[in-house]
């Protein structure tokens, strides 16, 4: 090459590069550095973690908008402490079903039916999870209309590890979803208590599937969904401004009242009233009770969806109410029947847990003790006397404890909720919670109670008769006499021949 072509080539390269240079300069101008948060804003974001408040609030300008691209490392990430408590609570609530409730109910039925109760709990744990993943979580917790959510979260689409600020500033959305799943599992599991020993497995499967869609998902949405009809604490447009901290209506009233209807449709166990049907293993029952009590801390204090002052209060009120109720119930037995029973201690504890459930995050320690006393008295009286007068076969007292307890709890929440116990009551309920005994909130609670009972009763009646018509509800007489363990599952709970040859 000559010197000239060499020089020309260099100049050609420069000329070609110029546009690139121009593009580069323009690109740098377009990616102007993102607005940086001030140190004040970043510290405020960290303080929001401690106070369970929104870390993006300090970034808002005078009009309440956040400048485009302005963020801190605290925004859109879960807070470790809150998330850890939520994951722990999730495990605790699952523990309530597996094996808490399985043991509690398993010990109360006759030996030939012990596995059937456990099978039903296990079935629901798996199947409800599948329904929850597919569309249940979305129907309950996605926004939609006041009665049911949309399908935006179907298949847990978009449910990732960042917080969903509709429900929490600091708990991962997926963790929240799994937490709520555990409630969805235990609610139908409570119903099996009333129909124990005489409803066939296939009918339970079909009934519970329909029940989740007709009763549970709508109720969960109405009470806890961000646009729910009965979400008095967080939805300023709620039609019924009721409060329910951990599920007195959603879990206990729905399962309890549905249990009553279903056991009436089913009819009594063969030999009821003539054959002895005493609990076959109160040891299992007591062990299950202990697990329910411990697990319930996740159920109640975990419903704060944060490891904060509200959770701390719920933890305390749960302890007080449960302990008092588990004392009062057997004391009544001692007075009236001359002997306090282990079953009485267990029933009292469960009753206390049920009644404090809707109230735990909203009442003070004194309110919790009062609730414990009522919980030890009213469900006890119902199981001891009223059930006998009415004569129906609620095998394991799901109605007596969960419906009666849950309904009373929802009412007492109205009476005993106090602003001092939970600052969030002031957000949308200032005029309802006036810190008096017959505050306006009581009326809202009564409305919620009425709607819940209506949904549970009507829903169960329709589904119950539909399943009965489609596939029948009861096993054959011989199958029921043999026991559901062998009839439905081909298994025996205890094989106790001392000689293995026999």
């Amino acid at each position: 090459m000559t010197r000239l072509t060499h020089t020309l080539r260099h100049w050609a390269l420069y000329v070609l590069c110029l546009p690139l240079l121009g593009l580069t300069i323009r690109a740098e101008q377009a990616a102007a550095p993102a607005p940086q948060p001030t140190l004040e804003q970043r510290v405020a974001g960290l303080e929001a973690y401690l106070n369970n408040s929104d870390p993006s609030a300090p970034l808002k300008d005078a009009k309440g908008n956040i400048p485009a691209g302005l963020t801190t490392p605290s925004v859109g990430v879960p807070g470790p402490g809150h998330n850890a408590w939520q994951m722990t609570s999730t495990a605790l609530v699952l523990f309530m079903t597996l094996p808490g409730l399985a043991l509690f109910y398993g010990g109360l039925v006759r030996r030939k039916n012990v596995l059937s109760v456990m099978a039903q709990c296990l079935l629901l744990a798996g199947w409800v999870t599948i329904l929850w993943w597919a569309c249940g979580y979305s129907l309950a917790f996605h926004s939609g209309n006041p009665f049911l959510g949309g399908l935006g979260f179907a298949g847990l689409d978009g449910v990732n590890s960042a917080p969903n600020t509709d429900y929490s500033a600091w708990v991962s959305h997926n963790v929240f979803s799994m937490y709520q799943l555990m409630f969805a599992i235990i609610t139908p599991a409570l119903i099996v208590g009333s129909i124990a020993e005489r409803m066939k497995f296939s009918a339970i499967f079909l009934f519970m599937t329909a029940w989740m869609f007709v009763v549970y998902f709508p109720m969960a949405h109405m009470v806890w969904g961000i646009d729910g009809f009965m979400n008095g604490v967080w939805n300023p447009h709620a039609g019924i401004k009721a409060i329910d901290f951990a599920g007195g209506t959603v879990v206990h009233m729905t399962s309890g009242w549905s249990a009553l209807i279903l056991c009436l449709i089913l009819g009594k166990r063969l030999g009821f009233g003539k054959t002895p049907m005493a609990p076959h293993n109160l040891v299992l029952c007591m062990v299950g009770t202990g697990m329910l009590w411990v697990g319930w801390y996740g159920f109640n204090a975990g419903s704060a969806v944060a490891a904060d002052v509200v959770a701390a209060n719920a933890f305390t009120t749960t302890t007080l109410a449960t302990a008092v109720a588990s004392f009062v119930w057997p004391m009544m037995e001692w007075l009236v029947r001359k002997k306090p029973s282990v079953l009485g201690f267990c029933s009292g504890a469960v009753a206390g847990l049920v009644v404090i459930t809707p109230a735990c995050g909203f009442v003070t320690a004194g309110g919790a003790v009062a609730i414990g006393i009522f919980a030890g008295l009213v469900p006890w009286f119902f199981c001891f006397k009223v059930k006998g007068w009415l004569g129906y076969d609620d095998a394991l007292d799901t109605f007596g404890v969960h419906a009666v307890g849950g309904t009373m709890g929802a009412f007492l929440t109205g009476v005993l909720a106090r602003n001092a116990a939970n600052a969030n009551l002031a957000t949308n309920l200032k005029d309802k919670v006036t810190d008096t005994l017959l505050q306006p909130l009581v009326w809202e609670q009564l409305k919620a109670i009425g709607l819940t009972i209506a949904i549970a009763v009507v829903g169960t009646t329709v589904i119950g008769y539909a399943v009965k018509a489609l596939i029948g509800l009861r096993p054959t007489q011989e199958g029921e006499s043999t026991g559901l363990d062998l009839t439905d599952h081909g298994e025996e709970g205890y094989i106790m021949e001392s000689s293995s040859e026999l």
Binding site: P276, P279, R337, G344, S347, K385, G388
Partner: protein, 112 residues
């Protein structure tokens, strides 16, 4: 030979066994049974549901004795098992046709 069946209250077993031993009886079979005669059961209450328990736990003793020993055995059992309260039990005596010790093949009075 006689075959004696005795139904007794479970807590009297030790006394009955010692009395039979003193009377020269050297073998015994015991089974846990339930039953009632004129003794009524008791009531248990589980969360408001009452259950009347009719069948009470008893022990059934079975023993084979030579004819000469039968009278002493019956007297020993009844004295040791008696509490003078309802439910003390009963003694039945059956004629025993044949008996054999399996290890040695002895029969009759040599077997019991």
């Amino acid at each position: 030979m006689k075959f004696i069946i005795a139904i007794i209250k479970p807590f009297r077993l030790t006394e009955v066994r010692e009395a039979l031993s003193a009377a020269g009886v050297e073998g015994l079979t015991v089974t846990e049974v339930k039953g009632f005669g004129r003794q009524k059961g008791h009531t248990e209450i589980y969360r408001g549901s009452e259950y009347t328990v009719d069948f009470l736990p008893k022990l059934k003793l079975e023993l084979a004795v030579a004819d000469e020993v039968a009278g002493k055995a019956i007297a020993a059992i009844s004295a040791a098992a008696r509490t003078e309260k309802i439910g003390d039990g009963k003694i039945f005596v059956l004629p025993l046709e044949h008996a054999m010790r399996i290890r040695t093949g002895e029969t009759g009075d040599m077997a019991i």
